[in-house]
Structures are given as C-alpha cells and as structure tokens.
C-alpha cells in the first residue's frame, strides 16, 4: 500500500512493549501532534464548562433530606447554582460555535473535519478490533488519524451538545413556549445529561486515565503530542502517511533542537 522509502527503512520495525520500543533512546524520539494549540484550548474550556454544568445541573436532583442541612444558605446557594449553570452553558455554546467556524475556515480545522468523517472502513475496523479483543485475531487493525472510537465519540459530542444547548435555551426562555414544549425540553435535557455523563465517565475517562499505558493520566490534552512508539502502535496508517509526506511532517511532527528537521 505504501511505497517503501528510505525513511521507512531507517526506522526500526515496531517492536513494542507497553508502547515503548526497546531500541530507540529517548534522545532520538520524535513527538507527533494530535491536538494543536487551538484544539487544546477549545478542549480545556469545554472540559471546564462540562464539569460546572454537570455539578450545577445535578444539584437540582438532590433529595430533600440532603438539602435540609443547607438551612438559611440554601437560597444563596441556589442562586449561584443557577447563575453558574447558565454562564457555563453560554460559554460552552460559544466554544461550540467557534469550533464550527474553526472546522470550516481554519486549515487545521478543515483537516480535522475531513479526517473525522465516517467511512466504511470504520465499520470493518470496529469488527476487526472487537475480534482482536476476543482473541480471534493476532493483531489489532491499523488506524488512521482517527479511529472508529474517536469518530463515534466526536459524533456523540456533536449531537449531545446540540441537544443540550437547544433544550437549555428553550428552558431559559420558557415563557415564550407552550408548557408541552417545555416538558419535552426538560425531559430531554435531563436524560441526555445522564447519557452524556455516563458516556464521558465510562468511555472517555477510560481512554485517557485507565488504559494501562496511559495510567494515571494521558498528558496529550496539555502537551498535544504523543511519542513515536505510541504513534506507530496506535495510528500506524497516519504515521506512514506523515513519514512519506514532508508537508505533513511539518504539520504533525513537533520541532525541537534535538530533532532533525525535514525527515
């Protein structure tokens, strides 16, 4: 599929233990960008908003006996809860709107959008990967920049955020609408919140905290990079594309004094 090039021959075949190669020393290790600065910032703001929204949102579901001890302060607590929830919601919506602009206008965003589009091979990858989990295959399938996992999660994010934003705004302006519409909005907002929370906790936090080589926490959301071994192990197709294309190397390889330019 890929032309064997000089660069490929120079690189030792991937022989990984825990994602780390035993042949290369740290000095020669290359780092590959997964998230650029803008994407990291968007993610960070989104995370902050999400946490605030979840906490302030589920505060409305607490049972009465838990709230009795608040006493006189309950009024103030509720006021700030409501305000924070709306503020965080607005920031999340603005971030999402910026993200759509980013996807359409910015070159990096356009690349992200194109790479994130679902393809038929994602389904075959998923089946293949599950077969690998079940021990029916020796090796996992090779993934491009975004695997079916990322695409599913991104799609869920898109859909979930849209639903929450729309129903949230409807509830915020409730007196304009019929009570029936408000009832629907409230129901969807609450149920989607449960779904999103569970999805984040079980899926996303496993991916970034509990995967054995990432434990206790993956730093990629701060630094934006993963090392070459992980690149070869997890995203081998993307890796090969980058190593064959100098333009892509400029985009995806992190430059530093120790790393030769233009390889």
């Amino acid at each position: 599929m890929f032309n064997a090039s000089e660069t490929e021959e120079k690189i030792a075949p991937a022989k990984t233990i825990n994602g780390r190669s035993e042949n290369e020393s740290d000095r020669e290790k290359r780092y590959f960008f997964r998230l650029n600065l803008s994407e990291r910032l968007q993610h960070l703001i989104f995370v902050g908003c999400f946490l605030v929204l979840v906490i302030t949102g589920f505060m409305t579901k607490l049972p009465k006996n838990m709230l009795d001890w608040l006493g006189e302060t309950g009024n103030t607590v509720f006021y700030y809860r409501s305000m924070l929830h709306r503020a965080a919601g607005v920031i999340m919506i603005l971030t999402s709107v910026y993200h759509i602009y980013y996807l359409i206008v910015k070159p990096a965003g356009r690349r992200l959008l194109l790479d994130m589009l679902p393809k038929v091979r994602d389904i075959t990858d998923m089946i293949s990967n599950i077969r690998y989990y079940l021990g029916l295959e020796e090796n996992p399938p090779e993934f491009d920049r975004f695997s079916y996992k990322h695409k599913l999660e991104y799609g869920a994010l898109f859909a979930g955020t849209t639903l929450m934003s729309v129903t949230g705004m409807l509830m915020w302006t409730e007196h304009h609408w019929s009570k029936f519409l408000i009832d629907i909005s409230t129901l969807i907002h609450g149920m989607e919140a449960i779904l999103a929370c569970l999805a984040i906790m079980i899926w996303h936090l496993y991916e970034v905290h509990l995967r054995p080589h990432k434990f206790p926490i993956d730093h990629m959301w701060i630094t934006g990079v993963i090392d070459e071994d992980e690149m070869k192990a997890e995203y081998s197709i993307h890796y090969k594309k980058i190593m064959n294309d100098p333009e892509l190397q400029k985009i995806y390889i992190k430059r530093s004094d120790k790393i030769e330019q233009g390889i």
């Binding site: 409305t60 019929s178 009570k179 408000i182 129901l187 989607e192 079980i202 899926w203 509990l210 054995p212």
Partner: protein
C-alpha cells in the same frame, strides 16, 4: 385520715382566711391570665388529667405563663369552653371555633368569633358540606385543629422572628403614646403576625401532602396524589429554601382571599382556573412576580407533571363506559382530554427511548472498554 375538733367560729375564721389567701395570691401571681373563675386552682398542676374510655391519656394541665403569652392569652376559659358549670366538668362541650368569645371586634363593635373564617372554609373544597348535603367520606376532611396546630400555645411573639431588633425599635415608638407595655406588645404582635405566613414553603408542602399524598384518601375523593408536584422545578426551589418559592398556597389560594377559601379549578375565583392562569404565573397583584413574561400558551399548560389520571385515561378505552365504579377512573375519563393523553404518551415515549438508548450505549461501552483492558493486559503480560 384524722379530724380536727374545732369550734364553729374558729372554723369560719380559718375558712375565710384561706379563701382570701387563695383568691388573693393566684391572680396576683399571674395578672396576665384573666382567670376570674379561678380555673387554675386545679388546672395549674402538671399531673392534672384523666384516662378516657379508650385508654387515651387526656392532659388538662395549663401552663399559665405560656398561655398568657399566647394569642388566646386574653381570653377567659369559659369563653371557649362551654358547659363548665359543674365540677367535675361532666357537661363540658367540645370546643367550637365558631363560638362567640365575648370580645368586641373593634371595627364593627360586634361580638367576635372565628365564624367568618369558618363560613369561608365551609364554602371551600375542604368544607364538609356541598349544597347543604354532607359529602361522602367527610371524616377525611381537615378540621380547624389539623392545620392550626397547638392553637392554644401559639406564642404571639413567635413571628417577630429575624427582626427582634426592629420590633423593639418599633415598639418604643408605639409606646411613646400607648404606654401600657402589655397592650402595646399584643397589638404589635397581632398586626405583624399577619404580615407573613407562619409556615415556610417547605412546611406548607409537608402539611398539604400529609393528606394529598395519601393514595387511599385521595382515591376516595376522586383525586390523584400530588407527588408529581415534587417532580417540578418549583419543588426544587422549595427544597433549597429559595425565597418566594412557589408552594401550594401560591397557586391554589385566590389572591386577596384567605387560605381557607381554596376552590376547585373549575371555579372562576381559583387561580388555576384557565382564564386566570396568566395572572397567576406572571403577577399576583404585585406580591409574587415569578414569570412576568408568561404567555397564555405557557401558563395554560399542566404544572404538576402527568399523574395517575393521565395514565388511566391513556390506558382505558374512552368509548367504553366506566365499569369499575372507581371514582378516580371516572374522573380521569371525564377530566383528561385527548390532547393531554397525546402529550402524556409523547413524554412517556421519549423517556422510554432514552432509557433504552442509555442502557444499550452505556452497556456496549462497558463491554468494549472491559475487553480493551483485558486484551491490553494480556498482551503486555505476553511480552514480559
């Protein structure tokens, strides 16, 4: 028991002295309680009481100080307790709040009784009669004492509450001219007592739900229980103790009427009567301005979530006559329109859809990630 042998004169003198002694000291100790008949001679003892026919302990002890400081502290015992001519009080009648208690109501100079409130109450949904006839299951209905708990000892200063300092300062101004302290305090309390409700929203809901969440009791009267109010955002605010959180009284008691006059939603005076809804939600005479921008569409909706009546109406075939004889079913079929049934079904469907979706999605995620973990560990171990 031993008997004294005394001369009649000595007996007479001693008796007179005793009478003066007793009659002089008791009123002197408690000038606040107008106990002109000296009821406290016996009733001031904590052990005063008896066991009635059912074995229940009846306590007849009157704490003078507490009573003097209560809203009824100005009244003689005989004003409320009728039939006290004999000792022991075998002729005594049950206290009736509509009794005239011989206080002159200063605005009309008429004899005061609580009859005004009682008449309103009888005309309300909680009254025992309708069109002169006693309702079925009238024993379920609350009497005065059900809500006016501890009416004898309700302290008249209790609701000065947070603003003890303000009340002291205000009183100083009153007493500049109205120099009798006790009168001034009672008048001030009588006034300020009514400037806010005794119970906070949480307590009101507790009181109302004590009957209105009782499924059997409500079924006897064709009503559904109101736990669906507790699913609303209104109740969330009550839980947190938000000021002016809407409780039962805010929406069910007509504005400028008393709590005793709650009427059904079919009555034009009721705030939940369909034509009054927008006013109820948006601006209750300036007192509660909760949804000032409320439109008719918004206000006409159902506030408590759909409850058991909608469930019944959705389940039953409306064309068939009600054969169960159950009052709730009958009213469900009569009150719930097709539109409401549709809405109920839509909401139920959305909820079910999400429950299934969450179960499937989250279930798959758990399976997928567990497999990933197990496989990764296996692979790492193999390479070691």
């Amino acid at each position: 028991m031993y008997h004294f042998r005394l001369k009649p004169v000595k007996i007479g003198v001693l008796t007179l002295l005793s009478v003066f002694l007793y009659s002089g000291t008791l009123p002197a100790k408690t000038p606040a309680v107008p106990d002109t008949e000296n009821c406290l001679l016996c009733h001031r003892y904590p052990q005063m009481g008896r066991f009635d026919e059912t074995g229940k302990k009846r306590v007849f002890y009157i704490n003078e100080k507490m009573f003097a400081n209560s809203v009824h502290g100005n009244l003689r015992c005989k004003s409320c307790h009728i039939g006290l001519d004999k000792i022991p009080h075998t002729d005594i009648k049950k206290v009736d709040c509509s009794t005239k208690c011989h206080i002159e109501e200063p605005s009309t100079n008429k004899e005061f009784s609580h009859i005004n409130m009682i008449e309103k109450y009888e005309a309300s949904v909680h009254g025992k009669t309708v069109n002169g006839k006693v309702k079925p299951n009238a024993d379920d209905l609350p009497t005065c004492k059900y809500c006016h708990t501890n009416r004898m000892y309700n302290p008249f200063r209790a609701v000065w509450g947070k603003s003890e300092a303000l009340s002291e300062e205000t009183l100083v101004r009153c007493m500049g001219c109205h120099t009798e302290e006790r009168w001034a305090k009672r008048f001030y309390s009588h006034f300020t007592h009514r400037m806010r409700r005794r119970r906070n929203p949480s307590e009101i809901i507790e009181l109302c739900t004590s009957c209105h969440e009782n499924r059997e009791k409500m079924a006897r009267h064709g009503l559904e229980t109101i736990e669906t109010y507790k699913d609303t955002f209104h109740f969330t605010q009550v839980k947190y103790g938000v000021e002016n959180a809407p409780d039962c009284i805010d929406c069910h008691v007509p504005v400028n009427y008393s709590t005793h006059y709650i009427r059904p939603k079919t009555d034009p005076t009721s705030p939940v009567y369909i034509a009054n809804r927008t006013m109820t939600c948006s601006n209750q005479g300036g007192l509660k301005v909760c949804h000032p921008g409320a439109t008719v569409k918004f206000a006409s909706g159902r506030v408590h979530a759909y409850g058991v009546k909608a469930k019944i109406a959705a389940a039953s075939n409306l064309k068939e006559p009600n054969q169960s004889g159950n009052l709730v079913v009958e009213r469900a079929q009569a009150e719930i329109e097709k539109k409401e049934i549709f809405r109920y079904k839509v909401l139920k469907a959305i909820r079910l859809f999400y429950q299934v979706l969450i179960a499937l999605v989250v279930g798959s995620m758990v399976v997928h990630q567990t497999l990933d973990y197990v496989r990764t560990r296996k692979r790492n171990q193999k390479h070691h």
